[in-house]
Structure formats: C-alpha cells, structure tokens
Amino acid sequence: MESIELLINRKKVKVEVDSNTPLLWVLRDHLSLVGTKYGCGIAQCGACTVWIDGEPMRSCVLPVSAVGKSAVTTIEGLNEKAEHPVQVAWDELDVPQCGYCQAGQIMTAAALLKKNPKPSHDDIVAGMSENICRCGTYHRIHNAVKRASEIASASNSSKKK
C-alpha cells in the first residue's frame, strides 16, 4: 500500500493503493468515478480510455504509479453539462445504444479532434478503430466526430468575432 496523490479532473486526490493497481480500478473502486468502463483489461477495446495530460490512454493497463503528476481527465471531467462539442454531437446524432463503450469512444474522439480539428473521413475511421462497440454504432460514431468538428469550428469562429 502506498499513498498516492493524483490530479483528476482538475482536483487533487489522495488514494491508498498498491502502486501497481491500474488507474481504471483506482478510478472505479477508490474514487467512485465509474464513468470509465472495464471491457477487456488488456488494452483491446478502449472502453477504459482516459486522458493523461490530454493524451488518450488505456487506463486498464496503466499502473497508477506511472501517472505521477500528470493531469488525468475522465468522462466525468470532460464537461459536466454535456456541452463539449463531442458530447453535443453524440446527443444530436443519438449515437449510444447500450452506451457502455461510449465514454471511451467520446474520450478518444475528443482527443482526436484536439490534434486534428478538421479530420477527413479516413482520419476519423483510423482514429476511432481501436475502440470496439459491440452494439455496432460505428457509423454514427464516425458521423458524430465529423459533426463535433463542425460544431467546434463554428463556436471557435464565433468566439473570434
């Protein structure tokens, strides 16, 4: 057991855990942040995707000790009011079926758009293909990423005015 300090969703937290514990289980079991999902535990499905300093990572295989001072962002920290362009687009296109994979999809999509604000269709398909959706919502996911990029660019240009 170790006492570990983390920066999660802009808040400092302290947990007493074995330092090998994957971040996923620290979030879910110790911090009651259950929006990040377990799907496979071996970095295959993407359900557990969170950001480490803005980079999407598989929290199921990331030991909490490796997080260090990096800022962790989970689905709960993306935008509580669901106003992030990706969340808005996801709702507008009604992407979720069972919804279980969607936290991981959204965190992946939002990170993709930060790097590449105007992705082509091929960029979107390639960027999202590491995340499994058993319900088969892939088409709407692809369309929603495109829509989110439009929403984001519209709000950016209105901000500039």
């Binding site: 669901a82 979720p96 919804g99």
Partner: protein
C-alpha cells in the same frame, strides 16, 4: 370470472396534485369481452404501466422493461406521450424496479416488447388525455367534443379557453375512467415515427453510474469466481492458502465446483485469484472441435433425426428431379460478449434479499433465487440496472444465482464481477450447427423438392420448419437432430435464425444460379404461388414479403449498378418482421470486399426513427461482423479464445456502409431488436460469390477454413 374493461383500470390520486393512472390490461382481447376468465397464460402476459402527471405539468412514465440498448426505455414513452398529446420535453422517464404486482412481462427478449404493449401504451395515453379534456370541458361548461388538446394543453371553443394539463390534474383524477377512448389518427402523429433521442443520453455522455458494474452499496465487498476451465470437468480440490495471504482478501469459499475469492477491491481480487491452486477431474475425453466435426458427420447420417415438417413426398420427388443441388453449411459456437461483462450484486439477509444488476429477465431471477435460498419470492427484491448490451446472454440468470449463493455463504453484501476472460469462457454460447440442404428442380428449373437437415449441439430444433420458402414448394422434408454437449448454450440475438437464415439464403442463391433464374424473381414467383395456392401451413404474410423484396430491389438498384458492383440478395422473416437486404461487394486490391448493404424492413409502425435505424444498422453490423470474423473453438472442453485479442469482433474500420429503409405501413409494430441480423450473412455471402465466384459454406467467412474454398 367475468371481467369487464372497467375492472382492469385502476385510478388513484396518490398525492394531491398528482394524477396517476395505473393501467392493467391483461390482453387487448379483453376489451372485446372474449376473455371470460384469466387463464395462466394470459395472466403471465399481463401488463401494467404507470403514468402520472404532476400539477407542474410534468409527466412521469415508468418504463418497466429492462433496457439493454434496444431503446425500449425511449420507445414505450413515445407511444404514451403521443396519445396523451404532450410535449416530449414535459416527459420524464424512470426505470421501474421489478414489481410483479404492478407490472407484468417485465422482460427483454424475443423482440417482443412493442408488439406486446402497443395497444396498452396507446390506451394509457389516450385515456388520460380524454379525462383531462373532460375535466377542462366541465370547468368551462362546454361540451367535451368541442375541445381539443395540443402539446400538454386543453383548448376550448371560446376565446381564451386554454388550460395546461397540470392545472387539470386534480379535477381529472376525480372523474370516472372512460370506457371508450379514441386514438389519434396516424396523420396527426408528431412523435411516433420521428427522430427521438435516447432518454439516457445525458447520463451516458457524462459518465453517470447506471450499469450493474457501477453498483456501490454500503458494506459491499467484491468477488470473482474461478470456474472449471473445461466444460465437463469438475473441481476435485483447491488450495487457497496463498490467496488468503494476499492483501485485501477477505475470504475464499467454494460451492458447486466454483471457488469464490472475496476481497475489498477488484484489483486485489484479480491479483489474488492467480495464486489459487485448483485440481480438476480428468479432461482428456472432453469435447474438442474434432469431436464436434465427428458429431456433425454422424448427425447427418443418423436415421434418428426428428421430422419437423413434411409436405408431399420429398424422396419420390427428388428421385425424379431433372437437377439436384446440395450444399452443407456450418457455424461455430459464439460468445455473446456484451461490452459490460456479467456481474450481479446480492445481499442475502435473514428475512430479505436484495439483488441488483443487469438481467433481461428480472422476474425469473427473483423466482430462481427464492427457490435456491428457500425463501418466499416476495422477500426477494430486484433493482434493475441499465445493461451494457445483452444479445441474449442476460436471459440466463446463472450469474445472479451465483451472487446470491455467495452472499448467503459469506453473509455479506457482495458484487460478483466476471472478468472478460470469465465472460468469454464461462458459457451460455450460440450453439454450433451444421445444415445440409438439397433441392430438386424440374425441367423448367422450378424447385419441386426441398430438404433441410439441421444438426445442432445443444441447439434443440435447429430449423424453423414453417418459414418461407416452405409453403411455396410441393415436396418438403425438414429434419433436426440435436447432440447434448457439455458446452452450455442459450439464445443469442435471433436464436437459430442468426445462422440458419445465412445458410438458407446462400443455398437459395445457389438454387437460383442452377435454375438460371434471378434470385429476386425466383422468390417473387414463389410468393405468388403461396398467395394463390399455399402448400401446408404458413406462418408469414406473403404480401409483406413481396413488398420488402420489391422495395429493396428498387432502393439498391438491383442489377443496375454496373459491372464493378456485385450484388447479393437475401430476405428473411423473423420475430414477426420482414427484412430484405442487398449487399454489395467490390474487388479491392484483388480481394472481394463487402462495401454496402441496403435493407428494407417491415416492422409495422416505426415508433422511433432513430432507435429503429440503430437497431437495423446495429443488427446488420452484428450479423456481418460475426459472419466474417468470430469463432469460439474448443480443445478438451476448454474455450480457446479468452479475450478480444484472439476472439475477433468487428471494428469501425471494417464496416460496410448501411442504408436502412422502412416500409412503415402503420400495421401494429413488431420486433426490431433482432430481425435485421438473420438475413445479413446470406446477403454478404451471395455478394462475395457474385464478386469472386467462391461460395462460402463455413462461418467465419474470413477464417482459415474458407481459405481454399
């Protein structure tokens, strides 16, 4: 017992300022006075929805059916809100827990929910609307027929007469419940058939706890269970000394060939269970893939197969046929792999049991747990959680029973979680099946004789003997043979038809080629025959079949897409819905690849355009992905694929584009969670054949078994 409609409707003003209607119809037939007594079958199908309107105008609808991603929690309220004539923004939907007094048929399975509840839901909304309208008319002293409703208001004939439903709640709740209600006409629908977003979207998008695996209760411990790795083996002994020394471990207990590791946190339990030493009974004679092949071979030859249907004289007809076509098709076992693995919470205390978790059949969980523990059913409470998919897996309550049994042993509230490996190797699979088809054609190329034998492993009757093209063919013989395997199986999205349709629709394509006919025209000719002169009993409506076929031919531009687009056709009737598909393949880098699927579905009235598209497109991707890629194989009883690294699910870069069209003919709605899946495998195989002239007989199509075909 003589029943009248009035006795089915209870009206209660529970709290002042709240108008609640409990609707309790056991069958729509009850309204025509046909049902004289409640027989057990009808009783089991009874439904009781609950609707309340607060004086703020807020409408609360309790959704009784478990939500697995099929969209029922959105679709049901749409129907009520439409007939009630309220603004969708006024409606709040809540998930009801299991309540056998209040609700019936609280289950999700067989694509049956809407079909079952359509009339009742409409009546619920229309009755409340009529009472609100009546209350306003009385207040204004006008005739109710001169009033109308609009988006949560009653509007009277005179200027300024407009009252919100919320203001009428008290008065309406004191009125007698009307015996006759009128429904909106289809032309006036505002919500039904529109694009309505999922009611849980906000929670999903912000990561709110709602799934079974998110359950946290005070004093709760977590557990994982080590089950025998091979189907057919038993636990002989185990040594948990090292496990117990691991940090965070509370207890290790064994029951029914299983060893449960109980601890404080998921990760600690996952680590500790690795130290468990188990010895199991001898596995050398357990089932492997080669065993299954041997059984299939034997099953195809046995004279003990069960005759499921016989029209005319198949053997005599085939002997006289001018041409005979035969083919054999086979599919492997499949895991359901919902994204949320199995899990359940149980707290067994003296006198009360609390269960919470993802189940498609909460009532049978309640019953089974009561029986297991020897306690009265009414002491077992079940909280329903949203489900991260089900696909049929959660029709089996093995994991809920395990949790209850474990809690009763350790006397603690416990959440049992299955890892992905536990989930994939823990059973209740889609059964492996082999089919053999034979068709006899006369000189004119007409199919006069049709034979099918299905050999399944724990599949029961692996045929659907009354389905089309049966009814169009004079001489038919359909047989099934089942092997009892140690590998546990159960319903998997569109049970049996998920592969039967694929095999059958591929075979009929071969028949069309052999007969020199267009595959679509061949079906249409058969359906004409069924209309005028059906052979034996049929369970489908030929006109609805014809319509989806004609529409898909038109939408997909059948035969008109040019030499580089290779099309494959398929059509199937299941869960009372009709789905026709045309898949398109292209040669990309020398390989045939499916690029597009067009589907036309007749599921009657489309309730939610968004949800309906999701189900059809999702069903097609599911059908395509599993047909192409997925397989669970066995060696001495042990599943060989344990996680997504070796068990392949379709990914976003492997999907064809999909177009989903609906006939939307206004007929009472039928199932949609499953029917789009069965035709997909056939359409895909036929398109690939059109592209590269290779027939696909074995799923997964992209697997090594098809490399040399």
């Amino acid at each position: 017992m003589k029943t009248t409609r009035r006795s089915f409707i209870q009206k209660t003003a529970l709290l002042s300022g709240v108008f609640s209607l409990g609707f309790d119809w056991f069958d729509s037939k009850a309204n025509s006075g046909i049902i004289e007594q409640m027989n057990p079958v009808l009783d089991a199908n009874r439904f009781n929805a609950f609707l309340s309107i607060e004086n703020t105008g807020k409408v609360i609808l309790y959704s009784p059916n478990p939500e697995i991603g099929q969209g029922i929690k959105t679709a049901f309220p749409i129907v009520v809100a439409e007939e009630l004539d309220v603004d969708w923004k006024q409606v709040e939907v809540r998930q009801a827990n299991l309540d056998t007094q209040l609700f019936e048929r609280q289950l999700t399975g067989g694509s049956g929910a809407l079909k079952h509840s359509w009339e009742r839901l409409r009546k619920a909304g229309a009755t409340a609307r009529q009472m609100l309208l009546q209350a306003a008319a009385q207040q204004w002293g006008v005739d109710a027929s001169s009033c109308k409703t609009s988006k949560g208001f009653v509007i009277g004939p005179n200027k300024g007469q407009k009252l919100a439903y919320g203001a009428l709640v008290d008065a309406a709740s004191k009125l007698a419940v009307p015996t006759e209600v009128t429904y909106k006409s289809r032309a006036d629908y505002q919500l039904i058939g529109s694009f309505v977003k999922g009611v849980d979207n906000y929670k999903v998008l912000t990561g709110k706890p709602q799934y079974g695996l998110d359950t946290q209760k005070s004093g709760m411990v977590v557990a994982q269970i080590v089950r025998p790795p091979a189907f057919g083996s038993t636990l002989v002994s185990f040594d948990a000394a090292e496990v117990k020394k691991m940090p965070g471990i509370i207890d290790v207990v064994s029951f029914k060939n299983k060893v449960a590791v109980v601890g404080k946190s998921t990760w600690e339990v996952m680590q500790a269970r690795k130290k468990l030493v188990c010895s199991y009974s001898d596995t050398s004679n357990l089932e492997s893939d080669s065993t299954h092949q041997k059984w299939f071979d034997e099953g195809m030859k046995t004279d003990k197969a069960k005759v499921e249907r016989k029209d005319g004289d198949f053997h005599a007809a085939i002997a006289k046929a001018a041409k005979v076509i035969e083919a054999t098709y086979e599919c492997p076992f499949l895991s359901h792999t919902p994204m949320e693995p199995m899990n359940f919470f149980a707290d067994v205390k003296p006198g009360s049991v609390l269960l919470a978790g993802p189940t498609q059949v909460p009532q049978s969980a309640q019953k089974a747990v009561a029986t297991l523990l020897g306690v009265p059913e009414n002491t077992v409470q079940v909280e329903l959680t949203k489900m991260g998919g089900g696909f049929g897996r959660r029709l089996n309550n093995d994991y809920a029973l395990e949790a209850a049994e474990l809690s009763s042993i350790i006397k603690m509230p416990v959440k049992v979680m299955w890892t992905r490996e536990d989930d994939m190797t823990g059973g209740i699979y889609r059964p492996a099946v082999r089919y053999h088809f034979k068709a006899g054609l006369n000189e004119k190329g007409e199919m006069i004789a049709y034979y099918l034998r299905g050999v399944g492993l724990n599949a029961g009757n692996s045929t659907r003997q009354d389905n089309f093209p049966v009814g169009a063919i004079d001489h038919v013989l359909i047989e099934s043979f089942n092997y009892n395997s140690a590998i546990t199986t159960g319903p998997w999205r569109a049970p049996i038809t998920n592969f039967l349709a694929s095999a059958e629709q591929s075979f009929l394509d071969e028949v069309a080629v052999a007969a020199g006919k267009d595959p679509i025209q061949m079906r249409l000719d058969w359906l004409q025959k069924v209309k005028t002169n059906p052979v034996g009993k049929i369970t489908y409506e030929p006109d609805r079949f014809i319509e989806v076929i004609k529409q898909v031919a038109e939408k997909a531009k059948w035969g008109k897409k040019g030499a580089n687009v290779h099309q494959g056709f398929s059509v199937y009737f299941s869960h009372l819905s009709y789905v026709a598909q045309v898949a398109e393949a292209k040669i990309v880098d020398g390989e045939a690849k499916v690029t597009h699927v067009t589907a036309v579905t007749d599921c009657g009235e489309v309730i939610n355009r968004s949800g309906a598209e999701n189900q059809v497109i999702g069903g097609i991707i599911d059908g395509y992905g599993h047909a192409m890629f997925s397989k669970l194989s066995f060696d001495k009883g042990v599943p060989q694929q344990k996680n997504f690294d070796t068990y392949k699910l379709i990914r976003g870069n492997e999907i064809p584009t999909v177009e989903a069209h609906f006939v939307n003919n206004g007929i009472a709605p039928t199932g949609l969670g499953e029917p789009a899946l069965p035709p997909t495998g056939g359409a895909v195989a036929n398109a690939l054949f059109a592209a590269n002239k290779k027939r696909l007989y074995r799923q997964p199509f992209a697997g090594p078994d098809n490399a040399n075909l």
